[in-house]
Symmetry: C2
Subunit: 503 residues, 2 copies
């Protein structure tokens, strides 16, 4: 652990304030303090080589220009506004373009059915054969069938689209059910419950679309593809392991689904040898009773036996503030722990300091969680913060998710800020990029770099984040070594490209 207080500086500071002293001392002391604080920041212990220094100059020039523009005219500063309104602005940013190209390591916090961009869901999946639509009291549902069932007045979507006017109407309905994007997010999502309601509605809407087995497979491969294109090389995916269906009426068990994930990952790696792979965190819904959680744990144990290297561990998902705390399941969770299963709990994804959601942080830590999903409330827990540092528990920060889901408006007020400036074990992830129009990890890196970190945070912070994402993954030692080696090579290429383009 980094020593928190640098005694020499303290001494100097006391000397400074307790006695008259010359201007030159003041300036020296002032700079020492500023430099000391910079040494606490994430990545501050890394040393850049000459090429990296040159690339850093390019990066920091762009960062500075964009921050100055935002400082002069706040409407030019994207992180202060809802991502649902700023995506296009971010895409024009030079910093963002550099981040896109940067090898960012891993995505350690993302969910199965929200991993892929809206574009693919809409333009690819909804235009497939055998997709049926049912329009009922102004609402719309989609399902694949060989022969539609009688549960609704199903019509072949292809057919409906042949009528230009009707087709347009249906297309608009479908699109709007697939994304949180809308005309006025401030009004549409005026509070956290409204945002979560829409968010959960999207999941319900896309589930029957995505759980058609051929689609589920393509969708996962597309998820890997989008990460790969965004220079992400490894994924730990949280999946509820939903029930898939096909036209033969096959029943797919959770273990079948894990097998599918594993095979597809293998296939993807064969096509892209520089992609390190994926692992799975079984993460079913927390809004469950004891019996269901017991079933989860039994399933988990079976999966872990069948796929010991592919199944990374366990988590529970869903709006934390609605209850179903970790403590309420503690005995059941302890039985999983005894079977050597790792936890990656969502905890403290809340603004209610002192509520049961907030106390999930204590349980996650006591259950020896390997990482904490969000940990938004952690900053106001001085003791838990120290535990997290000492126990080396990484915090998975998802800036855009927290903004779109209304924990915070201006991302400069994101609670994780002091953790970046204090050099805690952080990773940045993307949670559910497909649901708010994002793609890959770079948008979240942009928000993190421009708003959650100091203006002075530079390439070292980003390098540390990429490195953290592999180090805090569940890759075993040899996998990790190999991954870091591949990443290092990609990093060097990235740096050399930036340097050669700019000099």
């Amino acid at each position: 652990m980094k020593e928190f207080i640098f005694p020499f500086i303290i001494l100097l500071a006391y000397a400074a304030v307790n006695a008259a002293f010359l201007r030159v001392n003041y300036t020296i002391l002032r700079n020492e303090i500023l430099k000391y604080e910079e040494r606490l920041m994430i990545g501050a212990n890394l040393t850049l080589n000459d090429d990296e220094k040159a690339a850093n100059k390019v990066l920091m020039k762009a960062k500075e220009e964009e921050l100055i523009a935002g400082f002069k005219d706040p409407s030019q500063y994207a992180p202060a506004r809802n991502f649902l309104e700023t995506k296009k602005d971010i895409e024009r940013s030079k910093v963002f373009q550099l981040l896109r190209r940067m090898p960012k390591g891993a995505v350690l916090h993302a969910h199965d059915t929200s991993l892929v961009s809206l574009d693919y869901l809409y333009h690819n999946i909804t235009f497939r054969d055998n997709l049926y639509v049912c329009i009922d009291e102004g609402d719309v549902r989609l399902h694949f069938f060989r022969v539609p069932d009688k549960s609704c007045d199903w019509q072949l979507l292809k057919k409906v689209r042949e009528d230009p006017k009707r087709g347009r109407q249906v297309n608009d309905m479908i699109r709007s059910r697939m994304t949180m994007e809308c005309n006025n997010p401030a009004i549409a999502y005026s509070n956290i419950n409204k945002a979560w309601q829409k968010f959960m509605n999207i999941f319900s809407f896309i589930e029957p679309l995505l759980t058609y087995k051929p689609v589920y497979e393509d969708h996962f491969l597309q998820g890997l593809e989008e990460l790969y294109e965004d220079n992400v090389m490894y994924l730990e995916l949280r999946s509820t392991l939903p029930n898939l269906y096909d036209f033969d009426g096959t029943q797919y068990q959770p273990e079948d689904l894990v097998g599918i994930y594993k095979n597809l990952t293998q296939r993807f790696k064969e096509k892209h040898p520089d992609f390190v792979g994926a692992k799975l965190i079984y993460a079913p819904a927390r809004s469950a009773d004891d019996k269901t959680v017991e079933y989860y744990i039994e399933t988990l144990k079976r999966l872990k036996t069948l796929y010991p290297d592919f199944v990374a561990g366990f988590d529970l998902v869903g709006q934390e503030d609605l209850g179903h705390t970790l403590e309420s399941f503690i005995d059941l969770l302890k039985t999983a722990e005894e079977h050597n299963i790792s936890f990656f709990f969502h905890a403290g994804e809340t603004n209610w300091l002192g509520a049961s959601t907030d106390e999930n942080l204590v349980d996650a830590i006591l259950l020896n969680t390997k990482r904490i999903g969000h940990g938004y409330a952690l900053t106001s827990h001085p003791f838990l913060l120290e535990l997290v540092r000492k126990m080396n528990i990484a915090i998975e920060v998802n800036p855009i998710s927290n903004q779109v889901l209304k924990l915070v408006d201006d991302l400069r007020n994101h609670a994780a800020r002091p953790m970046f400036s204090g050099g805690y074990p952080m990773v940045i992830s993307n949670d559910d990029p497909g649901l708010w129009g994002a793609k890959g990890l770079s948008y979240d890196f942009y928000e993190g770099f421009m708003a959650l970190m100091s203006m002075h945070a530079d390439l070292r912070s980003l390098k540390q984040l990429a490195w953290n994402s592999l180090v805090y993954s569940t890759l075993n030692d040899s996998e990790k070594q190999k991954a870091l080696h591949i990443w290092e090579r990609k990093w060097q290429t990235f740096i050399k490209d930036i340097v050669s383009e700019n000099y």
Copy 2:
């Protein structure tokens, strides 16, 4: 200093997570951790007597009810929304009504011309004799004259108001120029610069109205009255010491103004013997050149010599983000320090971590500031935070000001939150209550208690805040003892009243 880490707990935590253990141990450990963190919170070291415990129950029952209502329906939770839209909701709160009656100690951070409620400014001051109005290109100006000058087409306001329609129009214009209240603050103040622009415009508008000497005097007395009615017993007022005018053409020097303040305070104390008084922090505009700051310092030295007990010290005011950093005036400020003048600097009232505004925090501390105004950016400075604690520098937090002036929207994201949960030396103040429809200190106490502190923060936190406001004041030892004694008596009465009403 409180020991930050409790080694016993650490040990237990390690034992817990590194070995299997029984449920009973888990529960004990969990509770120990939660209790340990509560012991770090502001006020947690205070012990309540039986009456206080009973009053605390009343308070916490009301707090819990209101928080649960807000938890269920976020639109019922005022601190998440702009104060400009929630004032009426807050007034209906039982917690607020209790806070109104609570002896809150002192206001340590408030500004001269924004101290008094809009109601008084509008209903009292604008209805006085000799007030003239000039309507020019849709804008409006006010000034007192015996005989109006030729600078504008001045008309007697009384006269204008005699025409009902015209009167209504002018009244609407005047009111809207005096307050940040408006129909849709989210649109009117869509970013920080727009909010500050309106804020500064109000100051310009009311200056000629308030600097008419008889008005200035009444206005200050009214300020004391409103604090007194709100159970505040002492004030440290930041004043720019503006130029007053009267109908005799008298020139008032800064020392005359300080004399007026001192005499009025004395008069108010004679009327209200349980009011402890007021002191003055000379706080002129930071948007100044070296020559002007030199004049400030010379004035300050003179004032300090003339009124050693009444003039508490020095500060600089105005939007910090616009530059004129403490560092840029460092040599001049050091000369004041040598004359034994205390500083109470605004510093870090910004969201731009790493900007020069943010670095003002370093300079304030190195200049041995006694307190820090706002210190909004402090939470992301781990080393400065430790200095502030060790050097016992109080942080003057102004929740509503920070929200209305667009540093933060949902007050649960206020940067000071970890400082309350970490037990730093905090005071809550009201900054410019008159400009956003507040009155007294209770609204800010409400926001602080309901949003900046944990759900579990109770009467002890509030008592500590009241106590802090006197302890971190510039009252000398004997004044402080006397003030604490008076406060203690008021506190006991308050507690007894609550208890007797509820049992």
